[in-house]
């Protein structure tokens, strides 16, 4: 990732390119297998376990980690925190690619992907939370595409179109926040219908709120995490404003993440109280729940606070990575680990290696697309011919 063959003429066979190439080839082979031989040939999905990592990781984790787009654009354009302006474009791009990959992953997971538009054009199952998720994800992907488009238009020199889109910024931002609130929370609400299958420590009537709040945390942490990686690999693409604002963004977003994590910790504890599940804590699942609650919510909240107080950017960056991991674990707990906890081990799910290949393949595609775009379009710098918006 440190070098870019496409624009600088450096050798094509760098270690990163070779590994990415192998993953892409493997991914394409499994893709062919998936669409010619069916889900059974490449997954461990079963009648007890209809959802695997393509939903648990690619959809649930993917959408949560792509929340940086709406969080950053709301902070800058609606809440008036202009000093974080340089973080908007990378966050929107990460969000857009994240959602695009979610939709691609869904095409692998559902039985008849060519029917994905059916819920909108044939029959609307409006009593389903999945309908809400589908509608919001489809609309939000469009919003993110439009929000991202000025960068592409600057690259292509489409001045008039860009001017038009930039005028819509506030409208798009508000629309994005509304849609994100809805589908981030609905992804959690999907599990409200299965109290008999999800472990009571994770099942809660507040699960939509938990999902929304933790998505904000994921979004804030991903912005810091992504900026760390970008700075490491694409520092040459960054202009002065980005380099200067980098630490401001880490401090500001770290502070916000610390506060939101503290609030999240409190509502999680209220959740245990509401369902009166204290007696479940000294069980195996209870201990795992405590690992999540203390290790991935309370601890990062504290570490972020220390990092901001001491202006310790390094600590903030590591905490961001830790928090992102914690949110991923939370989503996997709810969809896979604590789901179907009542079943004997022989009937539980563990991903097939080819399912993992597809997931890694899609993440690799995302990284490649990110690299392709930031090395060409004004994402990490402001285009000299255009004013910031």
């Amino acid at each position: 990732m440190s070098d870019d063959a496409a624009t600088t003429g450096k050798p094509l066979f760098t270690p990163f390119n070779v590994i990415a190439g192998i993953i892409v080839v493997l991914g394409l082979i499994v893709t062919v297998l998936r669409f010619t031989a069916g889900l059974d040939a490449v997954t461990n999905l079963s009648d007890y376990n209809p959802w695997g990592i393509w939903i648990g990781f690619d959809l649930l984790v993917g959408v949560a980690l792509a929340a940086g787009g709406f969080v950053t654009s709301a902070a800058v354009y609606l809440f008036g925190m202009k000093k974080y302006h340089s973080a908007v474009r990378p966050a929107i791009l990460t969000g857009f690619l994240g959602y695009a990959l979610v939709v691609i992953a869904l095409n692998y997971d559902v039985g008849r992907p060519w029917r994905l538009p059916y819920p909108f054009i044939i029959q609307q199952g409006t009593t389903s939370l999945l309908f809400e998720v589908a509608a919001c994800v489809a609309l939000y992907l469009t919003v993110l595409f439009v929000e991202f488009s000025p960068a592409a238009m600057e690259w292509l020199g489409l001045k008039r179109a860009r001017k038009l889109v930039v005028r819509l910024t506030i409208l798009l931002t508000i629309f994005g926040v509304v849609l994100s609130t809805l589908h981030q929370s609905s992804l959690g609400a999907l599990f409200l219908i299965a109290p008999a299958k999800l472990h009571p420590l994770w099942y809660s009537p507040y699960i939509p709120v938990f999902f929304f709040i933790s998505a904000i945390i994921a979004g804030l942490s991903m912005v810091i995490f992504e900026s760390t990686l970008s700075h490491r690999f694409f520092a040459d693409k960054m202009d002065e404003a980005h380099l200067k604002e980098k630490d401001t963004v880490a401090l500001g977003f770290g502070k916000a993440a610390s506060l939101v994590l503290a609030g999240y910790f409190i509502i999680k504890v209220i959740g245990i109280s509401e369902s009166n599940n204290w007696h479940l804590l000294p069980t195996n699942y209870g201990l795992w729940f405590l690992v999540e609650l203390l290790g991935f919510i309370a601890l990062p909240s504290f570490l972020y606070a220390v990092g901001v107080r001491d202006k310790n950017i390094k600590l903030i960056k590591w905490t961001a990575a830790w928090t992102v991991l914690g949110i991923a674990i939370n989503r996997l707990n709810i969809s896979l680990i604590a789901f179907n906890w009542h079943l004997p081990a022989s009937e539980r799910y563990f991903p097939h290696w080819m399912e993992i290949v597809i997931t890694v393949f899609l993440v690799t595609l995302g990284i490649l697309a990110f690299r392709f775009i930031v090395t060409r379009m004004p994402i990490l710098y402001s285009h000299p011919d255009y004013e910031d918006h």
Partner: protein, 369 residues
Amino acid sequence: MSITRRKFLGWLGAATAGTTIGKTANAASNKQFSGYPNSMGVLFDNTRCIGCRKCEEGCNKVNELPAPDKPFDDLTVLDTKRRTDPKAYTIVNRFDAVSNANIKGPLYRKVQCNHCLEPACASACFVRAFTKTQKGAVIYDESVCVGCRYCMIACPFEIPTYEYDSAFDPRVMKCTMCSPRIEKGLLPGCVQSCPTEALTYGKRTDLLKVARRRINKFPDRYVNHIYGEKEMGGTNWLYLSAVPFKEVGMREDLGATPAPKLTAGALSGVPIVVGLWPVLLTGIYAMNKRKEKIAKEETNLAVAAAVEQANAEAKANQKAEIEALNKMKQKEIDNAVKKALEEAAKPEDEDEGDAQSEKAEKKPSEEGS
């Protein structure tokens, strides 16, 4: 980052609106759906079941399902616990440990779709592939199914199965209560082939009475519970058992809440978010914009005032300078005049000296004027 009072209030409002998600909308409602009137059902009595698998065979035949790996008269398949699968809408499991002393031998449990009064699968389907018919059956329309398998997540009885091995037209497979047959007035396949009347088909309301009567007549034989009367809001399929239902692999912790009620609260939050968020966010945006505008105006005013003051001071300075300059020049003139007069007053002055002094007198006065 400084938090102003206005910003804080904005966030407080946002947080308040956020908490409206997740409340149970119908918690205080008196609306209740207790099934379509005259809907049909089946009562399964496990004290009468002999585990002959004839119901499985009947089901397989009327639904034209593929032939099983082992023939239906092979009872060794009962040695392992099974579940419904895409090739079997119904299966029978054997339970050897029997805690009721009045019952001899093992007990059996037939598994198939329970046909909920308010089905979780139908509530969860985002393309309305499931329908609850007036007769009570929950049926599936494969022509619209996308294959998301959320119905399988939602079903508390773990009934729907999926044709994972099909690449191009996988279907959700589950018992239809033989809906096409019961619409024609025929019995469901399993009921028709049961040799021991372990299965009774009839109106659900009648079946409840039959079940209650059996419990009252043989209180030692049955546990005092009709499974399916209340479970998940009630099902069209009902069960009687000689032992607690847990012992024959049926969950007793499902509760009496129908599945749609579990998600009603979250769904009711949607219009609230759609209605309130834009207002709130536009408000926050407007407040910030106004704050910026006022700050800009204040800056402009301050700048203007500063400029004016600077101008006034500059003018005053200029005036003073000019005056000082004039004064200086006047002094020079005076000095020159004085000097000239002094020179003129000297007695030993010659003509040349006179002429020179005249020049000297003239020059400064010219410059001064």
